[in-house]
């Protein structure tokens, strides 16, 4: 009885402490618990959210998405088409005292590209062949061909300490150079970080951050409303009025509909164009997403992405023109199968159903088929029998056209539904063009060609929405990273 009483008292004390003592603490609720805290191993959103604050990369980005040197002292130089030289900042130490230098960089690069290491992030770095130390603060990277987006790639490579990363506990006790230092991981419950008092850059204001893992958006919201969390991710647009503060910023996700250019009613370019004219994208953004999405400008790219063509604009909403085009193509009353899934992406099913209603309104018969995700993937990857129209949400972390275009625009890509050789050649050429201006112009051509051919029904560019408590100031980033060093707690 006595012991239990003490225990109870202790618990109340802990609660009281948790409530009052932490003026400079921030609690962030993320959707999933990290499966590891090794920053180079997995492709895992939970891991990234935490490690983005512990580790740093050679290149960084401003909140608006512009590439700037991070751990690199200056912008890397291209020595020959396949070699980049990178100067490093001096005097930086890892949290455990290991020095940050050329050895650490070479080690980190070799670690992640080693096939035996079997990193899930390898698709970001598969062009990198080798890393060499030139002197203590200079490194050269070799690529297997000209790689114009190496700098974007480097933004995803976290630099690890050579000695500590050999430790068997490395995946549970991360050590980086970043503004926050790892303290504790209570599996299933939380991860705690504290401010790194020896940080080389601007001193962060928040002294302590706690991550909680809450899968259900409703539960995250409840926690924010109850004052338990300061920042929650993936807030639904409907709740932006309810929460103390909602911040929204154009994100990396683009819902689009892939139209089959090789068969079915969508083989005719006029039908594909009609299916674009038929959809009121503004209404989708305003109605379904309550204004927290922007109309995609006829391309699978956001304005901040490399390759974005500002001259191409979205097909305007023009149902009459759509009807004319369908009539001209003789496709009035044709059945178009629209394939989608439910519950995978924000409002996926709702978008599909809304688009179907628009298409029906101009005179095609849309057969909506919502599959469970597994079955949906079968349809998306099926190269032999392409569905007429497949809904997908593309996400592009490199902020460069290459990734999305290789997957969806280029003939033979995992989700592409066209056999346009000219377009494929453009994408291939851009991939090895190291001259920025030339590369940009190639992408502009590719964007234009796909737009004219209407290979897709481009829909929206979704905004990331965060719910934020009244006591925290933060404005979000285009790359969807949650950097605690950019936050402030009000007194």
């Amino acid at each position: 009885m006595k012991i239990r009483g003490k225990l109870l008292l202790g618990c109340f004390l802990v609660m009281a402490l948790a409530a009052f003592a932490n003026a400079q603490d921030v609690t962030i609720a993320i959707g999933s618990e990290p499966t590891t805290l090794d920053p180079q191993l997995r492709e895992d959103g939970g891991e990234r959210a935490v490690n983005d604050n512990i580790y740093e990369t050679l290149m960084a980005r401003t909140p608006k998405g512009q590439l700037i040197p991070g751990l690199a002292a200056s912008e890397p130089r291209l020595i020959d088409p396949q070699t980049w030289e990178i100067k490093l900042r001096s005097g930086i130490k890892f949290h455990n005292g290991e020095p940050f230098n050329a050895d650490a960089v070479v080690f980190s690069v070799k670690r992640i590209i080693n096939p035996k290491f079997n990193s899930e992030q390898i698709s970001f770095f598969n062009t990198i062949q080798d890393a060499q130390k030139v002197d203590n603060l200079t490194v050269r990277l070799k690529t297997d061909g000209p790689d114009p987006i190496l700098l974007s790639r480097l933004y995803w490579m976290k630099i690890v300490p050579p000695k500590h990363s050999m430790d068997s506990k490395f995946a549970e006790k991360p050590v980086g150079t970043g503004p926050y230092r790892f303290v504790q991981w209570d599996r299933g419950e939380s991860i705690t970080l504290v401010r790194n008092s020896n940080y080389w850059g601007t001193k962060p204001l928040v002294s302590r951050v706690k991550y909680r893992f809450i899968e259900e958006p409703g539960t995250r919201l409840a926690g924010l409303m109850a004052g338990e969390f300061d920042i929650i991710t993936n807030l639904l647009p409907e709740f932006t009025q309810q929460v103390p503060k909602a911040i929204h910023i154009l994100g990396l996700e683009h819902p689009i509909i892939i139209l089959n250019a090789d068969g079915g009613p969508t083989k005719d370019v006029r039908v594909r164009q009609a299916l674009n004219y038929a959809v009121d994208k503004d209404a989708l953004a305003e109605g379904l997403f309550e204004g927290f999405a922007q109309v995609a400008q006829g391309q699978l790219l956001s304005p901040s992405f490399f390759g974005y063509n500002p001259k191409v604009k979205a097909y305007p909403y023009n149902p009459d023109k759509a009807k004319q085009l369908l009539k001209a193509a003789g496709a009035v009353g044709a059945t178009v199968e629209l394939i989608g899934t439910a519950g995978r992406w924000l409002k996926d099913r709702e978008l599909v159903e809304a688009v179907a209603a628009y298409w029906d309104a101009v005179g095609v018969k849309t057969k909506v088929r919502i599959f469970e995700f597994n079955e949906y993937l079968n349809r998306l990857f099926d190269r032999k029998t392409r569905g007429d129209a497949i809904f997908v949400v593309s996400s592009n972390e490199l902020l460069d056209a290459d990734k999305s275009f290789s997957a969806y625009y280029k003939a033979g890509g995992i989700g592409s539904s066209n056999t346009d050789k000219q377009l494929a050649t453009l994408i291939d050429n851009a991939r090895s063009e190291t001259d920025f201006a030339k590369r940009k112009s190639i992408y502009h051509q590719a964007v234009k060609r796909a737009f004219d051919q209407a290979y897709f029904t481009w829909l929206l560019n979704i905004e990331d929405i965060y719910g934020v408590s009244a006591r925290v100031d933060w404005s979000g980033r285009v790359d969807a990273k949650i950097l605690v060093s950019e936050m402030k707690v009000k007194k």
Binding site: L7, L8, C11, V14, M15, A18, E33, T35, T36, L41, R42, E43, E120, S123, D186, R187, G188, E189, S190, R212, F213, I214, E215, E216, T219, A222, G223, M225, A226, G227, E228, F373, N374, L377, N378, L380, F381, V392, K403, S406, A407, I414, G415
Partner: protein, 306 residues
């Protein structure tokens, strides 16, 4: 007694074996984890390599033999989702489910005895009728809904208790109550009806007549005789809580126990983790069953013959 327990143990092992086979068949025959585990843009070569890594490209019988070996060594392999041994995850999550179950069932048990007795003292009286009616409502309200209402009222509106998590004792109150209420409703009904039966028995009347204090009659005699059906129900409800309710309650309150983990593993098609969870729960259920059987024979020796 010893032979009886041995027989129950043997039966338990057969049950576990059966569960293992069913789990294997269902997951291998119908599921395809490869598609779901890899990112959308992964190439066909990457997919084939992954399949090989999981050992899913080999003949089904080979897989089965190896699987049984793994089970015997309690090693199901690494979770596809968390990339660490599945049993490690199970052992990490299981205590949380057990704590939640213990709190829920314990609460229900402790509350059901006085409530049931009060109702039984005057069958048909006001307290009896209201207890029965409230219990019926408790039986009829879906648990997930109850949990959501609790969150809205006690966490968000009143700010009394936290919405989710496990950090302090305060965190277990809402999920514990949600777990307890339907169990409480059923227990109260059983306590009530067995107490009514006992209170009408000759010996209780005799007890009264002899002038033994009322509470003593109820407490010592009637209650003891009512303990068999109550114990049966408590055992059953414990099993149902571990293998059923916990999934729902843990989902609602983001309580990171085995139930929530099972749902997360399903969402990620993590067959290996799922196998480990179902196997462990089966073992647990069988163990509770055996304990229940032993408890019966202690309460009522006549049952040993059965």
């Amino acid at each position: 007694m010893g032979r009886y327990i041995l027989r129950r143990l043997l039966h338990g092992i057969i049950v576990i074996f059966g569960v293992t086979i069913i789990v294997f068949v269902v997951t291998r025959m119908v599921g395809d984890p490869v598609k779901v585990m890899l990112p959308l843009e992964a190439t066909l070569e990457q997919r084939a390599a992954f399949e090989k890594q999981l050992g899913l490209d080999r003949p089904i019988m080979v897989q089965f033999v190896e699987f049984m070996g793994d089970v015997a060594r309690l090693d199901f392999g690494d979770s596809l989702w968390q990339h660490r041994p599945a049993m490690e995850i199970v052992f990490e999550k299981l205590p949380l489910t057990l704590v939640l179950t213990a709190v829920g069932i314990g609460l229900a048990f402790v509350l059901s005895i006085p409530l049931g007795i009060i109702a039984a003292l005057r069958p048909g009286g006001v307290s009896d009728r209201s207890t029965v009616f409230v219990s019926l409502i408790g039986l009829s309200v879906p648990q997930f809904w109850l949990g959501l209402l609790f969150i809205v009222v006690f966490a968000v509106q009143l700010h009394w208790l936290p919405t989710s998590g496990t950090a302090t004792i305060a965190h277990i109150i809402l999920p514990g109550l949600t777990m307890a209420l339907p169990v409480l409703a059923r227990l109260v009904m059983i306590v009530r009806s067995s107490m009514i039966d006992e209170l009408n028995q000759q010996y209780v009347q005799t007890g009264y007549a002899k002038g033994i204090p009322f509470l003593r009659v109820v407490g010592l005699h009637a209650l003891r005789n009512a303990s068999l059906p109550v114990a049966t129900l408590v055992g059953w409800e414990t099993i149902r809580a571990i293998a059923g309710y916990s999934v729902v309650v843990e989902t609602v309150f983001a309580w990171p126990g085995l139930g929530l983990t099972a749902i997360q593993a399903i969402e990620r098609e993590d067959l290996i983790l799922l196998q480990a969870i179902v196997f462990s729960v089966a073992v647990l259920v069988v163990m509770i069953n055996i304990l229940m059987d032993i408890a019966y024979t202690l309460i009522d020796p006549r049952l040993r013959l059965a």
